[in-house]
């Protein structure tokens, strides 16, 4: 094992197809036109000294170290800013260049501390490397002169000196070590797109500053880590490196937070994680990261982790630690007893979208082959199940159509019901990069998300619709496109069913779908809607990105179909820069769906009623699969309340906190006789569990995650599981105890079984992934290296299907008692129910969920900023503190759901998507009023949670 060192080519890769050849130090080098001389040199293996260049950002030409000589040209141009040209003859090392470089380095070092031995960057410092490279042996100027290094000069305070800024929990800024190369400023601008950093002052006074001379924590900084990664010295350094030291080996792995699926190098010292550094060859993130993946991994070693299995008779009892064997036997006995008593279909399981594909596959296999039923579901039920259904109906595949690179080729982006800068930050940075280069942006969202207007990015149109009216608005855009003749007839005739198109075109053209008519429903200005539709249809490559603001509605599946219709009608399918792109919530929510986690589908989205598919598994597993769909999560809970569903194995999901209508979830769980929770922590669901099986983190196991672009990425074990076993081993041991003959020795064998049984995964193996880095399914004989863009020549289902999408108002309506609409979302620093991020220093950015309310609505109710308010819906009530802002329109309130004490889901209702039962989180009619503090429910809940987390002390055997 060794540290993975990535080559830094100094400037970004040239994209021209025209190749040119030049000579550098006697070597002929052929590169795309537009490539810098620095990069061309590196490609020939010649490292030109540099301090202010890296291939993540554009050349800047400030450090004056990378100078070269070019035959026939005067002077010594900087190789980073000088493009390579046909026939140039370049020299990178001459006496003149050597003298200049040594002189430049001498100046740098004359204003830099000489504490190399005790410096955190020792061994990983480009300044140190360059001093060595140019042969610096002496600094003639001494260190007594004007400087930024010493707090005092000659007993007097040195005004130029600035103290360390340690305000960010994850990295420090030490101005005394800064060489003003501007790499951090440019990384913040070009890679992250936040523009939080600047150089303040001029000449020798120049210094890096965050915001208007704020501390990092008080500035606009989003803590993505791009500046720290770019810094060539110890000026910006991870606190973990300061504390532990330099890493000695690393492995490439995949982040376990959102559906972007960023690749990271986990840099280690022994089994201790020193830092996570984004991997440049990661095809989802291209070397970028966000605060969660880069820094928020501390939960993996948090003291709250449960490391021993536990059982209890009743949920009111304290937990009792037991051996793994005892736990497995207890579960197996209980499940068999329940099935004997209440029937084969009285138990089920939930797979985790946070676990690996291999682990998910095993849980559904345990349910189907071990429990002998199809009662398996996954948390995609509550997020993107409408995506699966809608895209399957229209295109034939339950997944997004593009890769993330596609955004670099788009001309018009429409974002519906997603907030990428908070929910999918690395994708947002890649999108912003494209927008700064001129692509246009349309945002359809009830709330003014950051992308509506943020430094150097402004949406052409923001359609602030009323929550719950997506179908009306998207169908109305189709109305404009069809009635104004802006559709792509050639594409539609070639690729779609023309009769279905005509039926749909007639449907959308009817006057009740005109923007003028739907304004009453949606509140969107007809003029804006018309202009946005025209821009999308005529602006070049049009792409649609959407999130849970689309799916989590009564008409979630209908909106997905409406989006697919729009993409087909405008010919925006089947090439780079276009497509329908669901932004998936969790790291492996795509994968968990692919692996057969739904009760009606076997791996690869094949319906359980299909005999030939069942036959494959019947033969391989030596069983007889039931041909009927099983229960979905909400149906399981209903059946539990009815007394026909009594036992459940839940891997890595917290349904009590994440699922709607908390009281109903609690009632369902309380009605069961054996609830098994397999998780890292005693989560909220565990309050109702009888057995707790400790889980392992993504750092502790091998496997794969599949991200939102269908990309199968490797997860690599970098440390031993603290609980002793990877999650796939726990499931396997449980299966064995239940009498199944499973003998997987490594997750790769599980993936081999997936490949063997599932045509879209036929070519996937760990060997292939190790070789290629990652592949996007389908990956099989037809596409041996995977499929970046889908539906290129024809749709997966043959002809694309246009489907009528009539707007039907949700039954969750406002009225005199509940006049406001509550919608929910998330924030950058926290993730989902917060089980992980709340156990990291990320809490510094978001200690509590707040209720965003418009100043007008707040004033009417006498609510001031920061006041405790009571939010009441038809389902229940909760309290939290108000945040007064005009980001929400009047009539709309908004909150996040990262903290269990908020109990946001006590107020969400049991309304759900008509096709998939995906809950309608995004629309709840509420009233908001002043409050004195927590609600009765919150107090009762806290007490119950506290009691149910008690663990009995282990008795000494001698007593």
């Amino acid at each position: 094992m060794s540290l993975i060192e990535e080559i830094d080519y100094g400037t970004p890769a040239g994209t021209s197809e025209k190749m040119i050849t030049l000579t550098i130090d006697g070597n002929e080098v052929t590169v795309p036109e537009g490539t810098s001389i620095m990069r061309a040199s590196m490609e020939a293996g010649i490292k030109v000294p540099k301090l202010c260049a890296t291939d993540m950002v554009d050349a800047f030409g400030s450090c004056r170290l990378c100078l070269v000589e070019i035959e026939g040209r005067n002077g010594t141009p900087a190789s980073c800013t000088t493009p390579a040209m046909e026939g140039l003859i370049v020299r990178t090392q001459t006496q003149r260049l050597k003298d200049i470089r040594k002189g430049v380095m001498e100046l740098y070092i004359s204003d830099h501390p000489l504490d190399c031995l005790t410096c955190a960057a020792n061994g990983d410092c480009e300044l140190q490397d360059m001093a060595g490279a140019v042969g610096l042996r002496d600094v003639r100027y001494g260190y007594e002169g004007d400087n930024h290094v010493f707090a005092k000069a000659g007993g007097v305070a040195n005004d130029r000196w600035l103290p360390k800024d340690e305000s960010n929990p994850y990295f420090t800024y030490d101005p005394s070590k800064c060489i003003v190369c501007s790499l951090c400023v440019r990384a913040c601008e070009e890679v992250q797109g936040t523009y939080a950093l600047t150089i303040e002052g001029r000449g020798f006074n120049s210094r890096v500053a965050s915001g208007a001379h704020d501390n990092f924590i008080d500035s606009e900084c989003v803590s993505c880590g791009a500046c720290v990664q770019a810094c060539p010295t110890a000026t910006l350094t991870e606190k973990s490196v300061i504390e532990i030291g330099q890493p000695e080996h690393s492995k490439v792995t995949t982040c376990a937070y959102c559906g972007v699926g960023c690749s990271f190098k986990a840099e280690m010292r022994g089994e201790e994680l020193v830092r996570m550094v984004p991997w440049k060859d990661g095809k989802a993130n291209r070397g970028h990261s966000c605060v969660k993946g880069r820094f928020a991994y501390g939960y993996s070693t948090h003291k709250d982790r449960i490391l021993n299995p536990m059982i209890r008779e009743k949920i009111s009892d304290p937990w009792r630690e037991v051996t793994w064997d005892e736990a497995y036997k207890h579960v197996a006995n209980e499940f068999r007893r329940i099935q004997y008593q209440f029937g084969r279909n009285s138990i089920g399981g939930i797979t985790s979208s946070r676990c690996t594909n291999e682990e998910t596959y095993l849980v559904q296999k345990l349910v189907r082959a071990g429990f002998g039923n199809n009662n398996v579901d996954t948390c995609a039920r509550v997020c993107h199940s409408p995506t699966g259904y809608g895209l399957r109906q229209t295109f034939g595949t339950s997944a997004g159509t593009q890769d993330f690179d596609s955004v670099e080729h788009t001309d018009v982006v429409m974002i519906i019901g997603a907030n990428p800068t908070d929910g999918h930050p690395v994708f947002a940075s890649r999108l912003k990069k494209r927008l700064r280069k001129g692509a246009k942006l349309i945002i359809v969202d009830p709330r003014r998300i950051d992308l509506v207007r943020t430094p150097h990015v402004e949406a052409s149109y923001h359609l602030p619709l009323r929550p719950g009216t997506n179908v009306a608005v998207v169908t109305s855009m189709a109305h404009v496109i069809v009635t104004e003749g802006l559709f792509d007839e050639k594409f539609i005739r070639e690729r779609c069913d023309w009769d279905e198109f005509q039926d749909w075109a007639a449907f959308v053209s009817s006057p009740e779908h005109s923007p003028e008519a739907i304004e009453q429903i949606s509140g969107v200005s007809p003029q804006l809607l018309r202009e946005a539709a025209r821009l999308f249809a005529t602006g070049g490559n049009g792409s649609i990105y959407y999130g849970l603001g689309v799916t989590e509605h009564s008409q979630g599946s209908t909106t997905v179909m409406a989006i697919a219709n729009l993409a087909m009608a405008t010919g925006n399918i089947g090439r780079k820069g276009v497509g329908v792109n669901p932004l998936r919530g969790q790291n492996n929510v795509q994968g968990s769906c692919d692996m057969g986690s739904f009760p009606h589908e076997l791996p690869g989205y094949r319906h359980i009623s299909d005999e030939s598919t069942r036959d494959i598994f019947d033969k391989l597993w030596g069983i007889k699969l039931q041909d009927e769909p099983g229960l979905r999560i909400p149906n399981m809970l209903d059946a539990a309340v009815d007394g026909t569903f009594k036992g459940i194995y839940i891997q890595g999901e917290d349904i009590l906190q994440s699922d709607p209508d908390t009281k109903h979830v609690a009632a369902g769980l309380a009605a069961m006789e054996c609830v098994v929770v397999h998780d890292l922590f005693l989560n909220e669901t565990a309050n109702y569990a009888h057995v707790f099986l400790p889980g392992s983190t993504f750092l502790e196991k091998d496997g794969t995650f599949t991200n939102a672009e269908r990309r199968i990425n490797r997860v690599r074990k970098v440390m031993s599981p603290k609980n002793g076993y990877a999650d796939w081993e726990v499931t396997q041991n449980l299966a064995k105890t239940m009498g199944l003959n499973w003998n997987y020795t490594h997750p790769s064998e599980i993936m081999d079984e997936v490949a063997l049984t599932t045509p879209s995964f036929a070519g996937v193996s760990f060997d292939l992934l190790d070789r290629e880095g990652s592949v996007q399914w389908p990956c099989n004989e037809k596409a041996p290296l995977g499929t970046p863009v889908m539906h290129i020549e024809s749709f997966a289902r043959g002809k694309g299907k246009f489907i009528r999408t009539e707007y039907v108002a949700t039954d969750e309506r406002t009225g005199p008692r509940f006049p406001l609409l509550l919608t929910t979302g998330r924030i950058l620093s926290q993730y989902n129910v917060g089980a992980q991020t709340r156990r990291t220093d990320n809490v510094i950015w978001h200690e509590e969920d707040r209720l965003e309310i418009h100043p007008h609505d707040a004033e009417q109710r006498g609510i001031r900023d920061g006041d405790w308010v009571k939010v009441t819906s038809r389902s229940g009530e909760t309290t939290l503190r108000a945040l007064i802002t005009d980001r929400v329109s009047t009539g709309v309130v908004y909150t996040t759901f990262h903290h269990p004490t908020t109990q946001a889901n006590v107020i969400t209702t049991d309304f759900s998507d008509w096709a998939t039962n995906c809950p309608e989180y995004k629309v709840t009619a509420v009233q908001v009023g002043a409050s004195n503090g927590p609600s009765d429910w919150q107090l009762k809940y806290d007490e119950q949670a506290r009691r149910s987390r008690r663990i009995a002390p282990v008795l000494d055997a001698a007593e």
Binding site: G343, R344, N345, G372, N374, N375, D503, S554, T558, P599, H600, H607, S609, K624, Q626, E628, P629, G630, L631, R632, N635, D638, A639, V641, D642, T644, D661, K663, H664, A666, A667, A670, I803, R804, T805, E806, V808, S875, D910, S912, W914, A915, T916, N917, K940, Y941, Q944
Partner: protein, 82 residues
Amino acid sequence: MDSKSHKTTADKLVYMANQIAMFFHTQPKDEAVAGVADHINHFWEPRMRAQLFTILDQDDNGLDPLVIEAAKQIRKPGPVPA
């Protein structure tokens, strides 16, 4: 923590079936009946369908006429294998 849900499972099933019917009402007429039946056959677990048939047997069951029409094409659940 003994709170009961405010709706019975039967209420929910009627509501869900009607939601499905609502979508297919807007589709071409000849596809609507088969559409409702297919959807329920594809996604409803046998005990849910069994409950639906019980509801169908009641007068004033609150079901959308399209669901009632589709019922002929909804599969009767067989016995659960032991």
